[in-house]
Amino acid sequence: MIGKLNKDQIKKVGLTAVGFVILLYVYFSFFLGPLNRSRNTMLTAIADKRAKINSSQENLAKTAKLEQQAKSATTRFAALKALNPEGAPIAWFPPRMKAFFGNQQIDKVTARLENNTAFKQPEMANWLKYTWLVDVPQVDYAQLGKAIAELENAEPLLTVSKLSIRASADQPEYQQVALSAVTVIPKQ
């Protein structure tokens, strides 16, 4: 059939073929392609959101369950936190020690801050260890033992890391005592 076409007709056929190619290019590049891309993006977004919604239901359930399980931990945490008053420890710890030993009939007790250090554990990032030097210039041994027992019972976050008991040169019935006490206190 091409053999029967004249030169003018062949030109027209070529022109039509070029038009067809241009039509397909424009159609796929500027119409159908972007439309499909947009549709695929939306389908991905829907799948993503659906997955998030489904996992969120699980998360909500897990949190509710965790809330139940953590009841005792939260109560205990609040109780431990409440052991320490608000404010700088240097402001309230020395008077507290003085009052504590005063209640045990041990006077002239002084406490001073030696240092504070952070915990190694990451979960304790909001807590600090404070080391205090507690001086008891004059005390009877039995009285001291009772006071230390009372202190260790009353202050669960306090530990005596060093203890020094020396005989008093002036009054042999009494001892001079120095305690190094470590307390765990939330960061202010």
């Binding site: 499909n36 431990l80 039995a142 203890l163 020094s164 765990v184």
Partner: protein, 215 residues
């Protein structure tokens, strides 16, 4: 045979040529394909619009849930932190060494003929407890009195639930000083005891009872 003359052959040829015009046919084919492509595009656009509507409803649903989820995640993190912190604090509390029971045991070991002049104790991380006890003993055999104290202390600490108990003399020297015990003059010895042990059990603090170290 009849003779047929076609006097309109030029017009017919022209009409046929017009009908067979490739540009016209191509344009018609292109128009047809274009119409089909347009319909296909329209169908796709319709589907895309419905997907867009679905996306919009899902986003609306997510917008309702998201604040709750964010709050729940925050609360969950907070609770996990509280649980971990409480566990660490509980471990810290459980692993404390209580000095009062130790002082009580020490006070039980002090016989009337021995004296303590100083007690220095410290809690060493992972190494247990280390205590240095210094004093004097007065007896006919002052070294024996000091040895009695060492043995009794070792026994008391072992029975008290501590492990790896070591009570050793760091120094034991005779003194020139003479002491009067029960009206009798007896020689004296100076001793330094190095005590180390592990607080294996978890003794509760108990106030020391009985007599204290004699001065």
């Amino acid at each position: 045979m009849a003779l047929h003359l076609n006097l309109l052959h030029e017009q017919i040829l022209e009409t046929r040529q017009r009908q067979r015009d490739p540009l016209k046919i191509g344009t018609m084919i292109l128009a047809g394909i274009g119409a089909m492509l347009f319909l296909y595009y329209g169908w796709n656009a319709y589907r895309t619009l419905s997907i867009k509507a679905r996306l919009s409803s899902v986003e609306h649903e997510w917008a309702k849930v998201e604040p709750k989820v964010t709050a729940a995640e925050k609360r969950s993190t907070e609770l996990n932190n509280i649980i971990k912190t409480t566990t660490v604090l509980d471990d810290y509390i459980d692993q404390r060494f209580f000095w009062a029971p130790f002082l009580e045991k020490l006070s039980r070991c002090i016989a009337p003929n021995t004296q303590l002049t100083s007690v220095e104790g410290s809690v060493l991380e992972e190494k247990g407890i280390s205590v240095s006890i210094e004093g004097v003993a007065a007896a006919r055999e002052p070294r024996s009195a000091a040895e009695d104290l060492r043995q009794m202390l070792s026994e008391q600490l072992t029975q008290g639930g501590y492990s790896d108990v070591k009570v050793e003399f760091k120094a034991l020297d005779d003194l020139d000083t003479i002491a009067s015990v029960g009206g009798a003059s007896v020689p004296m010895a100076h001793y330094i005891l190095a005590v180390s042990f592990q607080p294996a059990g978890k003794p509760k603090p108990v106030a020391p009872a009985g007599r204290g170290p004699r001065k």
